[in-house]
Chain length 275, copies 3
């Protein structure tokens, strides 16, 4: 069965997510529909991009991803079919695709035109534009039939970390806070290692706290597994499984995790000083 | 694959929703199970009816909808199989079906009798009554085999808007507040237009606020798309994609949406005065 | 289609649950993936065991259950494939399986060895260990191919109720609070009946409240179904559909249910005194 995934800020109570599913199954009952999430913060494209970038890589090539965030229909705004990394992404031309693929070149970009015949009567982009386009692809249809090629999409600036050479410092920021209260930054291991070449030491600074060691996994914090419980609540910096610098409390949760104890919010700066 | 949808107030943590899914797959592993929502407020039939009425229309005809809200088993209360608009709905005889279909005549109504043999041992209506009945239908079985025809279901009064002719006024009420804090009323565009014939002006009043224009979509609020961000936070009335009068904050969210700014709750009155 | 269920504390926003689904479908697109829940409280094994024990019984024999709670990879900790009651369970060797099956003997236990070749590079146990093992089983593969038999798993003490003979008393505790605020104890009907033999009366005591009757269902509280609404808000003890003693408010909810009115928390004692 072809796979269509759904990502939205509809929440799980409103009828919108299930309307999308019903519409897909009305057009092709043999599609496998998978929710990425419907809990995106309203209109939050940075958050959406973080989740989609990390989720889609696990799906088979050819999967079709519907991204229903900030996708109100407006005749002045294109709807986009974006092919990248072997898969399809459907979204309004709001900049989201430039955030997800800030480091990956698209294989092809189309403006979805199948909705032109509806013209002003599109009331809900997801069911009226994205779903028929997605099912067309799921049925093996060609993108060219439902869209016309365009050269680029709206560009938003992905918040990349900066190397301040004068201050011998990386300036990054908090990009996401996960369900355990872990604080995920935009500082990639590779960037850290390249920047740090030639220096002996480093200190990670945020708020009025600092850490001077980066672990390679959550459990590396536990130096003695027999006494694992003694390490509960220990704060640490790690490179997580996306190789991003993460501030964590070992076995923390939303209530007593890094977010709460360090008091950091999305967008706040994290510094790495070299010496 | 036949489709069975689930709507409940079980939440997503308790084992009840997954028990229903497991039971369905135990009886027929080739059913496509789709969640409408499990986040209905406990026992809230008005909320359930709003969501189901808007969701089911998107599903293929023949879809089987299990409605597990206020469905405690009691020998004095029937369980109902309701056929309407080409699809099947299973619910306790608690009035919910009369709310969903306040304006649609059923094609057939059955009291589910397959549970009679369990008699007093039904402990969980959804797995013990609704699931076997739903799977029977999913397998192509006839309603007559598991139920006996009845003439009607319990009637609850759907909160319809009122035309107060003396006061030249529509009195409606808030029916639902969505994930973005949008306030959805029970005032349908058609009712508004019929009532307003012969008048020149109207004013929508609620709390101590008023609006005198109704947009036809969220994005119509944005008179200049190039400067879209300037319209964030603007309040407006629109006829939404169900043609119901909705009070909205453009790009509002739960925190800063219409619900918060206007302070309205479900059941509160909204007035439209004509002149 | 083979069925794989997912239980985790990942929440529904983070990309982790969908990464697991994507990975499953990458290895076998024809698996039916069912969420038990992703809303487990971080690392809470008692809560997980309650939900899984009640959910899995409804699924067909042969279902494969992935249990992603407290499953950080650490080379000193085994990952377990547990066969019990005709189904498969994949979990870290953290004691969870001993809680779920405190009263059921396993049919076979394996240490999952397919991850040995990854050795130190396992970054996310669920996608890197559980998923390939689960799909191997879903494809009809033998457990022996991906694991080696072990004799037992880590044991945690399931909180069983105690019979204090001197005080003529059962001492139980709150095990779970459900979506309606119902308080579910660990006192099974059978244990209550066996312990109570020879006594005439009993009183259930908790905080400074007491109840002296146990109903056999929620609706038994309603002695007159015609006047059902008059019973809303009535407190009662029942043996629920798992035959566990439950304290409930008839038609209560999270806000005004037993949890709120009785003020009880998970782990607090409930006493039954006999006389």
């Amino acid at each position: 069965m072809p796979i269509i995934t759904l990502t939205s800020d509809f929440g799980n109570l409103d009828y919108r997510a299930s309307a999308v599913k019903g519409k897909i199954l009305s057009l092709n009952p043999e599609v496998n529909i998978i929710d990425i999430t419907h809990d995106i913060q309203a209109y939050n494209l940075i958050q959406t991009s973080y989740i989609v970038r990390n989720a889609y890589k696990h799906f088979p090539k050819g999967t079709i991803h519907i991204l229903s965030v900030d996708s109100f229909f407006h005749k002045s705004r294109k709807n986009i079919l974006y092919k990248a990394d072997g898969s399809y992404f459907l979204a309004a031309d709001n900049g989201l695709l430039s955030l997800i693929f800030f480091d990956i070149k698209p294989e092809a970009i189309y403006e979805i035109t199948l909705n032109n015949r509806f013209d002003d009567v599109v009331s809900f982009t997801s069911t009226d534009v994205f779903v028929p386009a997605a099912v067309h692809l799921a049925n093996g249809g060609l993108p060219e039939v439902i869209g016309r090629k365009v050269k680029s999409v709206k560009q938003l600036l992905f918040p990349k970390p900066v190397h301040n050479e004068a201050e011998k410092m990386i300036i990054g920021e908090v990009m996401y806070i996960d369900n355990f209260g872990n604080i995920i930054s935009n500082i990639h291991k590779e960037f850290f290692e390249n920047t740090g070449k030639g220096y002996e030491n480093f200190t990670i600074k945020f708020r009025n706290l600092s850490l001077s060691k980066i672990f390679s996994s959550h459990t590396e914090v536990v130096s003695n597994w027999e006494r694992e419980t003694e390490f509960h609540g220990q704060s640490a910096a790690i490179f997580n499984d996306s190789q991003l610098l993460e501030l964590t409390i070992y076995k923390g949760s939303k209530k007593n995790g890094a977010k709460t104890l360090f008091g950091l919010n999305v967008g706040e700066n994290i510094y790495i000083e070299f010496s």
